[in-house]
């Protein structure tokens, strides 16, 4: 909820700050875009111009029509979609009891979720791979034909969910903490059971936190490539970041295509962000409901 209107001079100051910030935030990304238009695969340019001379969309064309870009996109969407679903649903329930209930193991449980993030991830890669291999989750065989989902995708989904969950759980707990308990008490008096009170009353109020959680799970799965790189060996099962690293060689990298792929990877993120951020502001918040 926005506070009172600011005086004009203040708004001008805010706009100036924001415009400068946007330039800083966007400029490197624009350079990536510029690289994607450059013929001849140079990563750098001595000119500061964003749009290079003889700019070409060739890299995008090759990427989309000659490489497996669309297949990779589908695989990424698949893996990301399930990661988000698992991340949001499991975190919203776990976060809820951490916020509301007092039970043996509560503090230990909260700490447990944190600790999983503390061990340097690079050292976990090898044993994680061995673990997945033990369960056959590195196999490239398709198990859900109409989705094109392979066993290895399931492995990735589990991996990503568990990576995203700790923050999601804590985030949900933190947000639930700000919602007054009196709301559920009233609901229980009205004859709802505990789960209904959670599901019908509290969850809708926690929309901003659900959005953050979803966004975070999305980003975790969308950009990860360390694990996927080892697990995925079949070109038609690659996720986008793995496909992206395919374009990099020892010395010569297809920089234009690499940059083009980076730009294309970013677009769905921005779309999701625009879509979800409607729920982040105004109208649907706690204040709105109460007022």
């Amino acid at each position: 909820m926005s506070v009172k209107k600011d005086p004009t001079w203040k708004k001008v100051v805010f706009h100036i700050i924001l415009i400068i910030s946007v330039i800083i935030a966007v400029y490197p990304a624009l350079r990536v875009f510029g690289t994607s238009l450059r013929p001849g695969d140079s990563l750098h340019s001595t000119s500061l111009a964003i749009i290079p001379d003889n700019a070409t969309f060739e890299a995008y064309r090759t990427l989309i029509f000659d490489k497996g870009f669309l297949v990779w996109l589908r695989n990424s969407l698949l893996v990301t979609f399930f990661t988000v679903i698992i991340g949001v649903s499991l975190a919203s329930t776990a976060g809820y009891v951490f916020s509301r209930k007092r039970f043996p193991g509560r503090k230990g449980g909260l700490t447990f979720f944190l600790l999983t993030q503390m061990f340097p991830a690079t050292m976990l890669l090898l044993p994680m791979y061995i673990l997945l291999a033990q369960f056959g989750l590195t196999e490239q065989t398709i198990v859900v034909p109409f989705l094109g989902m392979a066993k290895a995708h399931i492995g990735l989904i589990i991996m990503y969910s568990s990576t995203a969950l700790p923050l999601c759980v804590w985030q949900m707990k933190g947000y639930y903490d700000t919602i007054p308990e009196s709301l559920e008490e009233a609901a229980l008096v009205d004859g709802l059971n505990q789960f209904q009170a959670f599901y019908k009353i509290i969850l809708p109020l926690a929309k901003p936190a659900l959005v953050i959680t979803a966004l975070f799970s999305f980003m975790t799965a969308w950009n990860e490539y360390m694990v996927a790189r080892v697990v995925m060996t079949d070109n038609s099962l690659y996720t986008l970041p793995v496909g992206l690293t395919n374009l990099a060689g020892q010395f010569n990298t297809a920089w234009a295509q690499f940059a083009a792929a980076s730009v294309l990877i970013m677009i769905p993120v921005m779309a999701i962000f625009l879509l979800l951020s409607r729920f982040l502001v105004g109208g649907l918040t706690l204040g709105g409901v109460k007022g």
């Binding site: 001849g40 750098h44 090898l126 790189r229 070109n235 690293t245 020892q250 010395f251 010569n252 295509q257």
Partner: protein
Amino acid sequence: MRKSIITVSILVLALSLIFSVGAAAQQDLDKKEITEEVTLKLWEADEERIDTEILDPLIERFERKYTNVTVERTHAGSVEDLRQNTQTAYMGGQGPDLVLSPFDHIGPFSIMGLAQPLDELMSQDMKDKYIDAALPGMSLHGETYGVPVTMGNHLMLMYNKNIVDEAPETWSELIEVAKANTVDEDGDGLVDKYGLAYNLNEPFWWAAFHGGFDGWVFDEEYNPTLNTEATVDALQFVYDLKFEHEIVPKESDYDLMDSLFKEGNVAFIINGDWSIEGYKNAENIDLGVAPIPRFEKTGKYGQPMTSGKGFIMLTELPEQKQIAAIKFIDFMTSTAAQELYVDNNFLPSNDQAYGLPQIQNDPVMKGSAEQLRNGKAMPVVPEMRGVWDAVRPALQSVMSDDLTPEAAAEQMQKEAEENIKSMQ
């Protein structure tokens, strides 16, 4: 008389028996037949263009010839990824059957028991078709662990004929020409065109100078030998290129020098055979290739470290897979297959392929082959890593004027010894 004939024939028989027993360990898999359906998993770290223009067509031809073999090619990311992922997957019991890798991975792969010794699996005929330097390049402590496909990976002097007509013979000539071509065109006090560009802070590039001053990183027992006069000379030389002659860009990493050369803003560049194809096709470049010039002090040409790429077979493969793998390697190093590599400016491992007109008549390829002869094979022992990591920071310090060449040489030696000790 008759008796002696019988004696001789018995002797011959006995001898041939002894020899055939001796050769029993020799499996000659390239001469055996593949009797089952086999899938070979091949992991590589080549650039995209090579994957699609060389590997895929060759794999297709191979599969047509051997219909019961399927080769699954997987790009494993960078060269580092290839090593780590192969190791990880191997430990998880999955992994590739064949790896197409730079020679340096022979070190760790053979020591960790990932790489299959190949001496007994290949017939003498197969071994004989390679140039002399090939198989030893992928050998360690007397065992062959891989078969090279391409040789080289070596640095050379390249120049843009739009800017300079010919390559100089000595460094002092090069410096003179380079100075004339290092100019500030728009007068803003910043140089726009450079005489020379190379990867200033990268030990692999520095090694070509080091070798030119008669230095080498190891003694025979693989102990580092870095605190030498040659090291100091080579460091002083690269320092002077930057600070005294001022012919190189002040901070120049691989991507920057590459971009500058492609834009036509550099007269000379020191780069490797992998970059030739891109430069041939760049519109601002008319490419010339020559050996790295001679150093007046030693009379020696620049001596780049040479290496190459080849196949490593993983251990514990069933026999049918081993046969298929050897056949595949044999196929990929046949003259016909190697021609495709030559067409893409790589020097082959197959001896006969050097007779191809593409090498004999093309000045660029000839220059590259000439430079290869001035090179020296990079050691494949894993200790090499300890040397690189000792050279790099000291070299960087010299190039940012923080350390004298003498102190840097001392520091390199000390750190190299520490690094190597820490690995044991």
